[in-house]
Symmetry: C2
Subunit: 153 residues, 2 copies
DNA sequence: AACTCAATGTCAGGACTTTGACATATCCGA
DNA sequence: TCGGATATGTCAAAGTCCTGACATTGAGTT
């Protein structure tokens, strides 16, 4: 049931499943699903992995920083951080030295866990990227960036 | 805080925020946020809107069909359908005539509600699409489709 | 006809995320 | 100096979604 019915393949894309938004959702869902499956075997959720990756790149990010960067609310970010902290993968000073922000950092174990999953996660992304001509990747990235920026005001 | 630090803008994209997956997530989050904001004013959630749009295109889709098409589980799809039914926007036969699948259809009110929000939603998508050169749109859609297909086996 | 198998709808429980609100801390302009 | 604006962390409640499980239905096979 529900085959494509592609009779008029052309211009204005009357079929919702051919809209940019739908393709975006579909691709993102596929990626998140594949990542979640792999990460679960390592005891990590997708937001937790994203947080580890960001902290490796920018040590000392605060909860609010991380929440913005992972596109969730501060409250959700706090839950993620709490989980990582209980798992011993990150540390946060009990008291903030400047504002209220408490900078988070990877522990050695956190660094090791990240390293352990990166290969698998990158393989997934590579499988996705390999599906398109290599010379189009840079343009694709730029276009995604432009589209996102257009909606973020 | 956290400015770009773009010293080496080129090849392998060592910065996670320049990975395809991250851009995909960011763009999708921006779109979902913008859509959610508009749809809430009309008393609809994003999955509810997606369901209405699909039912307008393919009347008679079952809950399982819709769940697959909106990338959620059957259980979540059921909740969405229940909400739409209580709002009087769709109808489902109390008993299935063939298997267990109960085909859903838009009511006149559901059709009207969909028509009422489409302009606003399409405007958002248009704002996003206008951010990139028009001649690249078809390629972008094709690439997204390829990437999604590659991860869906 | 009997069996196996896949698909569908649904229930229960839990995990994750959001909305709303509040207190605290810094910065900046009047 | 002082007050408003901004930013952060956190709590509470609700909503949303998922995992796991089960019963029902139809198709295909033997």
């Amino acid at each position: 049931m529900l085959q494509n019915e592609s009779a008029e393949p052309s211009r204005p894309a009357k079929d919702v499943t051919q809209h940019v938004g739908y393709l975006l959702k579909r691709t993102q869902a596929a990626l998140r699903g594949a990542m979640g499956k792999v990460l679960r075997e390592h005891g990590l959720t997708v937001p937790q992995y994203a947080t580890l990756e960001l902290l490796a790149l920018h040590p000392g990010m605060s909860n609010a920083d991380l929440a913005r960067a992972t596109f969730v609310t501060r409250q959700s970010g706090n839950v993620v951080l709490r989980g990582l902290q209980e798992a011993g993968l990150i540390t946060r000073p009990a008291t903030a030295d400047h504002g209220r922000a408490r900078p988070a950092r990877l522990t050695e174990e956190g660094d090791a866990r990240l390293a352990a999953v990166q290969a698998a996660v990158y393989a997934i992304e590579q499988r996705m990227v390999d599906a398109i001509p290599a010379r189009r990747l840079a343009v694709l990235l730029a276009d995604l960036d432009r589209m996102a920026a257009a909606l973020e005001e």
